[in-house]
Symmetry: C2
Subunit: 205 residues, 2 copies
Amino acid sequence: MGIAERKERQKAGLRDQILAAARRIVLAGGYGALTMRKIADAIEYSPGTIYLHFKSREEIALELCRAGFAMLLGALAPAAAVPDPVERVREIARRYTAFAMSEPETYRLIFMDDPAFMREVFGDGAEGDEDPGADSYAFLEQTVAQCIAAGAFRPIDTRRAAQLLWAGVHGVASLKISCDEMMDGDAIEIVDAMSDALLTGFLTR
Amino acid sequence: MGIAERKERQKAGLRDQILAAARRIVLAGGYGALTMRKIADAIEYSPGTIYLHFKSREEIALELCRAGFAMLLGALAPAAAVPDPVERVREIARRYTAFAMSEPETYRLIFMDDPAFMREVFGDGAEGDEDPGADSYAFLEQTVAQCIAAGAFRPIDTRRAAQLLWAGVHGVASLKISCDEMMDGDAIEIVDAMSDALLTGFLTR
DNA sequence: GTCTATAAATCGATAGAC
DNA sequence: GTCTATCGATTTATAGAC
């Protein structure tokens, strides 16, 4: 390794610092509070330096969205260890909600702020190799498919069932974030009730 | 267009004109696009004039939220004519979703933008006489209570059931707004499926 | 009540020195 | 690569003339 590699590392290092600072700012004050100057102050560089690593403020926000999706996928992943597919659905719902509650501003940035973010990252923003947004959804849909294959669910439409589950859990999580007082009880407890109610409609009787 | 038209509009009251213009701006470009100058341009007054009717930009947004809640309540109201309480729940869900789809930016302003808006309008912002936010929720909760009283629902917790329904419908509506492509099918069709699934969990068997 | 004018702050992004 | 300096645009809100 030589000078070139060291410079490469330094560049990557600063890029990560920028993203970390940006994430802290968004977490603290929402996406609207994210400004180049605040980032510059936080990392103790000049505002102009940021433009050597990111083309614009938008690009930083997009990268935060991508990272947020990756975090969500990481938070969901341990649910794969649950053997029973129906219980796995419940666990996914719990973990999804726990993530939203522990990172409300990240969740808000991804799912509630600008639709363009979610669309660009989730929709097709895949730059070939990775797409944690689609992966997160695919994980849920696969699990629903396994519930059907195992005979636990009636032969309902897989996509429809997965999307209803997502919508139900998202509804609980986003209302908890927007207006906690409106939803009585703990988020996990509520989302369990949501899973119960929805799964009752899906299960064979 | 000129003096004559402006004087005509004066009859409607400048305060209402400001709100109407603000609403058009928010509908067109989201809450972030709402600026005093744009309002001033739209109503053909100077920016300073607006401050004679509203203390700040925030107060205008709050008033838009209140008006949005009132519109939502108005959109829900006809559901009261449905005699069967269970069918009435379905109808409320449909009308709620139809409102969100026809006024996505209004819906976004109320439920998805700044949590402070929803909190201040819904939470306790009632200035004594009116509170369309609480009324909207109360309408749903009363209907659920009537489902239980009529023996259609198992004796479940009324608030919990009402809040799960709200969360489920909100989840569908908000995901449709944020990422239409992610939810297959028409919003009303999806929300009917959501009602079916949730109600199945609530109905006596 | 309405206007003009402007204060005071903040922003994204760029140019050029080093 | 980094900084200083700044452009140019935008914002909220106010002060004072009429």
